[in-house]
């Protein structure tokens, strides 16, 4: 009776795929004038042109030119045109020619444009790895 430990509800980091609703209503834009220190969680799209320090969970993340992220990202799609320092956990990763990435890129498919500056390991993972991700692995130096 009392011996059964209550199982903490498992909480998957990857947001469930978007089903209904217009994508425009769920899309957030952070302009270049904004700085956020903290964690962001979105079921929709997130465009960053400003500065974010913290962890991001989103369906789709776009770091625009001039955008900067320091922290980890868990998303279905990640598109980077700006700078980022930290780890990416995403099924589809696109690094544009203006991208500058430092860290690790856990991906299932990745596209890197000519000219992108990347200083990162890029481990491949099956889709199930991202779907079942509940806690991020420890960051290794």
């Amino acid at each position: 009776m009392g011996t059964v430990m209550p199982i903490a509800p498992s909480r998957r980091l990857l947001r469930p795929p978007r089903t209904e609703g217009s994508p425009g209503a769920l899309s957030s834009h952070l302009s270049k004038a904004i700085t956020i220190k903290g964690d962001l969680e979105s079921d929709g799209e997130l465009h960053i042109n400003g500065i974010v320090h913290g962890q991001i969970c989103a369906d789709r993340l776009v770091i625009g030119p001039g955008g900067y992220l320091e922290g980890d990202v868990i998303a279905r799609d990640v598109h980077i045109e700006g700078r980022m320092e930290g780890r990416i956990f995403a099924l589809n990763v696109t690094l544009d020619s203006s991208a500058e990435v430092n860290g690790r890129i856990f991906h299932n498919t990745i596209t890197v444009a000519k000219g992108a500056r990347i200083d990162a390991r890029m481990p491949w993972r099956p889709p199930s790895y991202f779907e079942t991700l509940e806690t991020l692995p420890e960051a290794r130096q």
Binding site: S31, I34, T35, I36, K37, P65
Partner: protein, 165 residues
């Protein structure tokens, strides 16, 4: 971006020259007319178009932490933390737990915390729990307010967030 796009235009060029059998099966098998491939047209670049505009926190986004902006912010989602902006709009259905500082603060959603601004507008759907420090306030009929409303002295003057770099 164009480098990522495959050039699909050439794929079906030979199709119209094929001899046409008039059986329904072959008609069904006919390749569909090549549409102007979306990939060949430059996709509308929302990110750069919006980079200068106001920041929009959509209803799908939840932020835990501090926001600082030297421009306008519109919040339709959820924020736990302080917000510093010039013109801050908290939309209907939005929720903020923390202090909101700005030149102008317009509230149609919920704030649990404090508003400190030169001009404060509480619309009819506003739900404000906490103090409002203002120089100029408008409260529409229907707004809920639980807290002190007091005129600020000069010290409540808007302090712009320091822009890094």
């Amino acid at each position: 971006m164009s480098m990522f796009n495959r050039n699909d235009k050439e794929t079906d060029v030979s199709a119209p020259d094929k001899p046409r059998d008039v059986t329904s099966a072959s008609v069904a098998a006919m390749p569909k007319p090549v549409q102007p491939v979306a990939a060949s047209a430059p996709a509308p670049d929302l990110s750069s178009a919006k980079s200068a505009g106001p920041s929009v926190i959509s209803k799908a986004l939840k932020i835990t932490g501090q926001l600082e902006s030297t421009e306008d912010i519109r919040i339709d989602g959820e924020v736990e933390g302080d917000i510093h902006g010039v013109s801050v709009t908290v939309g209907h259905g939005a929720k903020v737990k923390g202090s909101v500082y700005g030149q102008t603060v317009e509230l149609a959603g919920t704030i649990e915390g404090k508003i400190e601004a030169k001009k404060v507008i509480l619309t009819s759907t506003a739900h404000m729990s906490g103090d409002v420090i203002h120089q100029d306030i408008r409260i529409e009929s229907g707004a809920y307010i639980d807290g002190h409303c007091r005129p600020g002295t000069n010290k409540t003057d808007y302090k712009p967030a320091v822009k890094p770099n």
